[in-house]
């Protein structure tokens, strides 16, 4: 009987620690989720950051001009991505509706994709042979 009482006493003494451990776990999960959020925000594509920082400064017409230029170059190289022209179309559509911020964002993304595809073309021109099997 005394043993059982002692055990109860020990249990009551340990309980607050157990509860606090549970609350620690919550904190940890909160910390993990906040870290994940932070990572997610850090892992946002670089281009999004560029858009956010530059879209305020660039005039829409200038941006459209740059996009058209980048598009011409990218098409000349033959490495245009299938995702890019849709962004250009979106840019024009939003500009027509008067949504300048969204239009700029779409044009910036399109410009970046055209530029990346040109980089890809340059890289391919210099390194395509890397995928050729070696001669036996």
């Amino acid at each position: 009987m005394t043993k059982v009482t002692n055990l109860r006493l020990v249990f009551l003494l340990v309980l607050p620690f157990m509860l606090s451990a549970c609350s620690d776990t919550d904190d940890v999960s909160k910390a993990v989720s906040s870290t994940m959020e932070q990572e997610q925000s850090n892992s946002k594509p670089v281009n999004q950051e560029i858009i956010q920082t530059t879209s305020k400064d660039v005039h829409l017409q200038d941006l459209i001009h740059h996009v058209a230029q980048a598009k011409r170059h990218a098409e000349m190289h033959g490495f245009v991505w299938s995702t890019t022209n849709a962004l250009v179309d979106k840019g024009y559509a939003e500009a027509e509706k008067g949504n300048e911020k969204i239009a700029k964002s779409a044009f910036q993304e399109a410009k970046l994709q055209f530029e990346l595809s040109m980089e890809q073309a340059k890289y391919a021109a210099q390194h395509w042979q890397l995928l050729v099997p070696e001669e036996y």
């Binding site: 033959g78 490495f79 245009v80 991505w81 299938s82 995702t83 890019t84 022209n85 994709q113 890809q120 890289y123 391919a124 021109a125 395509w128 042979q129 890397l130 995928l131 050729v132 099997p133 070696e134 001669e135 036996y136």
Partner: protein, 278 residues
């Protein structure tokens, strides 16, 4: 001694970088065959005509059952009707081709030295039409794919015999096709070779990737995804779209040169098109 070793290494590096501008197509084919012989040591060369069904046993069983009632038969029949139907001027497709268009598929694409370009079978079909005052057909599917299917069926069992003549323009076209095949493109940064050479036989989601060797033998192909037959360039466009690269126009110079290189790779393998594919 050390200096000699460094010099030899440096020379070897230089030799690797300074590869010949125009590789020898015959050597290319030997290299590709040896590559695949290493990847699939138990696969006989002729088995490559079955594409992915040569290397995926489970898929092969289903495919063989499908081939008992081939889904492309209607396309061949329709193609024969179209092929035999005279143009308004009374002539027919037979008047445009060697051997009246029968059993010639194995020689396509070829490099036309007068036109200075690669001519594919589908391009020749449309040139035949326009030369006879007819409107060109849309490339890729429909009547064009049916006529091409019929012509391919008349070549069944013939060995692919694509020639790259020893002249700069033909070699440049072949080399251009080769560069396309091995160049990474699209937002996913993948080349034709990424799937069909380096990863052939491996899985991409639920599908096994087919080896590039033997691709050209069974086109036009009936694809269940298309629910119809389509040409090899339709497949190129589809592949390009899948890697998020803007596809080129069918029968563009890029795709014709690619088809030239890609078909040359399968030289010596028997035509078994049209085939059915997933």
């Amino acid at each position: 001694m050390k200096r000699k070793i460094y010099l030899t290494l440096a020379m070897a590096c230089n030799m690797t970088v300074a590869a010949p501008i125009f590789a020898n197509p015959v050597t290319d084919n030997e290299t590709v065959r040896t590559f695949f012989a290493d990847v699939f040591p138990e696969l006989a060369l002729d088995s490559y005509v079955d594409g992915v069904y040569a290397i995926d046993e489970n898929a092969r069983e289903q495919w063989l059952q499908i081939e008992e009632f081939p889904p492309y038969e209607d396309a061949i029949d329709e193609g024969k009707i179209l092929f035999d139907t005279p143009f308004l001027n009374g002539k027919s497709y037979a008047s445009c081709f060697d051997n009246e268009g029968i059993s010639i598929k194995q020689n396509y694409p070829y490099f036309d030295q007068e036109k200075n370009k690669v001519v594919t079978l589908e391009l020749a079909i449309n040139e035949c039409r326009t030369d006879n005052g007819e409107q060109p057909l849309n490339y890729g599917k429909g009547p064009m794919a049916y006529i091409s299917s019929y012509m391919a069926s008349t070549s069944s069992g013939e060995l692919i015999n694509v020639k790259v003549p020893d002249n700069a323009a033909a070699l440049a076209a072949y080399e251009d096709g080769k560069e396309f095949f091995y160049s990474r493109r699209g937002q996913l940064n993948m080349a034709c070779a990424t799937c069909h050479m380096a990863n052939a036989g491996k899985r991409l989601r639920a599908d096994t990737l087919s080896p590039a060797l033997g691709h050209a033998t069974h086109f036009p192909a009936y694809r269940f995804k298309w629910d119809d037959v389509g040409t090899i360039q339709r497949r190129y466009a589809g592949c390009n779209a899948q890697i998020r690269s803007k596809p080129f126009k069918l029968q563009s110079e890029q795709y014709r040169n690619l088809e030239y290189f890609h078909t040359y790779m399968s030289n010596g393998l028997p035509i078994n098109g049209p085939g059915s594919r997933k």
